[in-house]
Symmetry: D2
Subunit: 142 residues, 4 copies
DNA sequence: TTTT
DNA sequence: TTTT
């Protein structure tokens, strides 16, 4: 009875950081920028261009694809869901992050493949159940 | 060159708060919950149900519709985009909020209308012109 | 490098027809109606309400869920992709049908469960690769 | 109470055909191909690549943008709705066509602009007003 | 053939 | 803070 879906087309802000959990599950994270063009209102007000940064998190096969094929500057389509998570920062202050857990990705920049790699079958998609790490979505300051 | 789209079906956590800006523009805010059902992994691990809370922000006509027709507990479809915003909290600490700016809403609970109101034309959407030429969708051979 | 995604919220026109292929794979088909409300243009022209009928096709687990829980009149969310298919009608004339192959479904009507059934875990979603029956999408008269 | 949404990323099959109605409204039509990669099933069956052709129809401003900037071979994101239409063919046989009425388009190929034209503001969308309050999306702690 |  |  619920839907939580995000679709983004944007540019990768940094090369993905990939780590492997104890169970050898890969997790990739990287920022993705979407940009709205600026425009002028009827009354002459200039609304400037605006860039939104999204924290992308990929798991398993998608993370491995990202490790091999995704680079800073690439244009990507990402489909997934919104997840909130809290953590305590270095000053013991509780912080909230919103992340996009991607379950489908399309590479929209066509780059020459790196030596020793083969191009990914697309669409690359996570098989069914995605892992659910410790996270919290309560107490949002809203 | 960019897409920032969110689609949610969930339940309204609180009656909308509606305020009017100096230019008489209405802004409505309310929390919306999406819930993923829990499940059991192949290895027997129980993944519990998980609720995500989304900060919905509606403008103008959509805000006015929300003021009249949206109530705590209602099931809604919301389409919009992700927007981040920062503010300084009461301790001068910079905080970030992620909000969903809705530009399309569908009311999925059919409630009896309140006395003195009329049901909204649906879909309620930020105004758009879309011409409707002669066309037919009947008698499909299916 | 490609995306083909459809999202529908509408009403089921008929109880699903479910058949089982030789390999015991279930396939369910039913029509789903989406309706745009009519409205009046600035120049006074009345644009009438318009109903679009979609041919929904579900496979495997989703088809089995549809067989048990989906009924005429129900409101559904369906996510999937567009597929065209051709066939020769009884007069040997080549006909084209467009179908929506659903891979995600949400039941938006909450009906009392039928005796002897248990509610489906939701969201019900097809696990990865969906079967690709004989179909053709070429030579469209466009 | 209804949603009819399609999202496509694909390649333009032919340069758009643009015509102008009596009221000077522009209408552009062109085919767009989405392609699913082939794959091999667990039992060894080869599922071949499959291309789906979509009949895109754009109106007004979007049609004018397509006339200027969209060409055969371009990669596009198109968002819109499914519309069915019937007509009688040259043999008096009733035919049905399914079209995608686009209301949002993103050009994903970056081509050098043609002489005498300026690049389109993007996203190009059927006009909408959406207020932009003070907000910040930088310095996210990620 | 649905629904509001 | 919702809902099943």
């Amino acid at each position: 009875m619920s839907l939580n879906k995000v679709q983004l087309i944007g540019n990768v802000g940094k090369d993905p950081e990939v780590r492997y959990l104890d169970n050898h599950v890969a997790v990739a994270t990287f920022p993705l920028a979407t940009t709205e063009k600026g425009y002028t209102l009827a009354n002459g007000t200039q609304v400037p261009e605006r860039t939104e940064w999204h924290n992308i998190v990929l798991w398993r096969g998608l993370a491995e694809v990202a490790e091999k094929y995704v680079h800073k500057g690439d244009k990507l389509y990402i489909e997934g869901k919104i997840r909130s998570r809290s953590y305590d920062d270095q000053n013991g202050i509780k912080r909230y992050v919103v992340e996009i857990f991607g379950d489908n990705m399309e590479m929209l920049s066509s780059r020459p493949a790196q030596a020793g790699t083969t191009p990914p079958a697309q669409p690359v998609q996570t098989p069914q159940a995605s892992p659910q790490p410790n996270s919290a979505a309560d107490d949002l300051p809203f």
